[in-house]
Amino acid sequence: MIAFVVLVLGRFRRRPRLDSKARIVPPGVPDRRAENIVLLLFVCATLCAAAVIVVYAWDAIPNQTQFLGLALGLSFAFLSAACIVIGRRLVVTEELEEDYGTTHPEEEETLDQLAAEGGDRFTRKRLLVVAGAGAGTVLGAALLTPVASLGPVLDVSSLYRTPWRRGVRLVDEAGRVFLADDVEEDTFYTAYPEHADREQMGAPLVVVRFKPAELRLPEDRGTWAPDGIVAYSKICTHAGCAIALYRKPTFAPVEPKPALICPCHYSTFDATNGGEVLFGPAGRPLPQLPLAIDGSGELRAAGNFSGAVGPSWWGVRNHGPRS
């Protein structure tokens, strides 16, 4: 389509310029070959920029990131190569020394004339301009493509949905059900909802066990931590990284208190106190999931999270999460 537009627009002939004045710049010899090279480079830049959009949109490509970088880099390289060829082979150049502060209409006219005559070697100026503009436009569109990944534009209700509801069992990476007795103190576990898509933002949990006396949960969460086992969303409320760090004091009187830490920007959440932010850029506490232990000692969710999961968006505090 782009090639077609370029060709159609390129068919209009340029009107011959009326030469009334004496030339300043010696007339340049038109260079068809250089023009063809420039056109080819512009087309290549356009194609590479279009490839960026295609690669970005098509998830199935292996090594997607590398191809994205390659296509974007090549597009810029072709564009700059085109500029280099224009500068070195097509624009007629003439160096003139000019004093500052003398603005006379005649001199301005001379300058205009200089600029106009500098383009003498171009025989298909409009075609070249259109090809260059095409490359620039497609490259600009390629750079804007990632905006599509920013998330739902107006309807954010899907962001509140999580796979957790009362009775869902906690399973580990291998799909084994978590028994309350298997959860030990001084360490941390990653858990997922049974029979649910683990890639959802609301799926992964980080599970930690304390002595019940060590917990200082908000009052309305009295029953949320059976036998001192607490569960939080594993997704940091700042930028959505996985909470992969857990620090636990060996000797509490002199050491920092137990905390869940996000490795991306070191947001630090108090694991004993409902996921409150102790340090770092996160603006909201880590959402806590109420737990229950059933008759056979298995860990189950006792409801949904205390707040919306994941990095923040507009109105994030307005609704509770939904199952």
């Binding site: 070195r88 030990e184 360490t187 636990k248 920092p256 905390a259």
Partner: protein, 260 residues
């Protein structure tokens, strides 16, 4: 000439042994008659070096106490920690610690090997506790080890085991950790590190992890230029510097000044 060379060679061979063996003055050494059982010797060493913070009989001091030489005593109980934790903290030089409020770091071991064994035996005698593990990393699989390390350890220690940070503390580099120390640390969870039980990391898996950590001390750097294994930020910075030089060079080549 030859004699001088022999002397230098001898000095080089002896220097590490000399540095490691004769106990130096940072700790108090206790002379005991030959034939003293290690536990009894350990008890005396404990009384001379550890009791200010860990209390009599290793029962711990939970509220700060002014001790000998204006030192504040404060420290956990050692009853039941076993030989495993004692061996780890002493062999890495984590203990003795100057200030109970600071993070223990790897430092020069000031006790002799026999003194270490005596202290470990004494701490183990305080109560039933785990023994020093004997991992067999040669039985482990490097690939499985990298996977386990990525899952459990790399969050803090980084994938190349170069160490990193958690809020308020440093996750140490593992380039000096011996296989036994790694096994001890995984099971004990020193300082702020979580403790991993056999349910989380089985002994076989631990062997693999140790094999990976040992490999990561001298990894096979395919790119050839490791940049300290510090990860993508320094790599990006170096690329940027190379790139900017190339860009300036390109500008010079296509510019007119070059041809003037």
């Amino acid at each position: 000439m030859r004699r001088a060379l022999t002397l230098i060679a001898l000095a080089l061979v002896c220097a590490p042994a000399a540095a490691a063996d004769p106990p130096s003055p940072g700790v108090t050494h206790v002379k005991v008659p030959a034939g003293t059982p290690p536990v009894a010797w350990g008890a005396q060493l404990f009384g001379a070096n550890c009791v200010t913070c860990h209390g009599p009989n290793g029962q711990g001091i939970l509220t700060p106490v002014r001790g000998v030489g204006d030192q504040t005593g404060l420290g956990p109980s050692l009853v039941g920690v076993g030989a495993r934790a004692a061996d780890f903290y002493l062999r890495t030089g984590y203990m003795p610690l100057d200030d109970p409020h600071s993070q223990p770091r790897r430092s020069r071991v000031l006790f002799s090997q026999r003194e270490l064994a005596a202290l470990v035996a004494y701490v183990a005698s305080l109560g039933p506790g785990p023994r020093v593990p004997s991992p067999q990393p040669e039985r482990g699989s490097l690939a499985d080890g990298q996977e386990s390390f990525t899952e459990h350890c790399a969050g803090c220690h980084q994938i190349a085991a170069e160490g990193g940070y958690v809020t308020n503390a440093v996750a140490p580099s593992l380039d000096q950790a011996s296989p036994v120390e790694i096994a001890e640390a995984v099971r004990t969870g020193p300082y702020l590190m979580p403790r991993f039980s056999e349910k989380q990391i089985s002994n076989a898996e631990l062997d693999s992890v140790i094999r990976y950590v040992t490999y990561a001390k001298h990894p096979d750097d395919r790119g050839g230029w490791a940049l300290g294994h510090l990860g993508p930020v320094p790599e990006g910075l170096v690329t940027w510097f190379i790139g900017i030089v190339l860009l300036v060079a390109t500008c010079a080549v296509i510019g007119r000044r070059f041809h003037a």
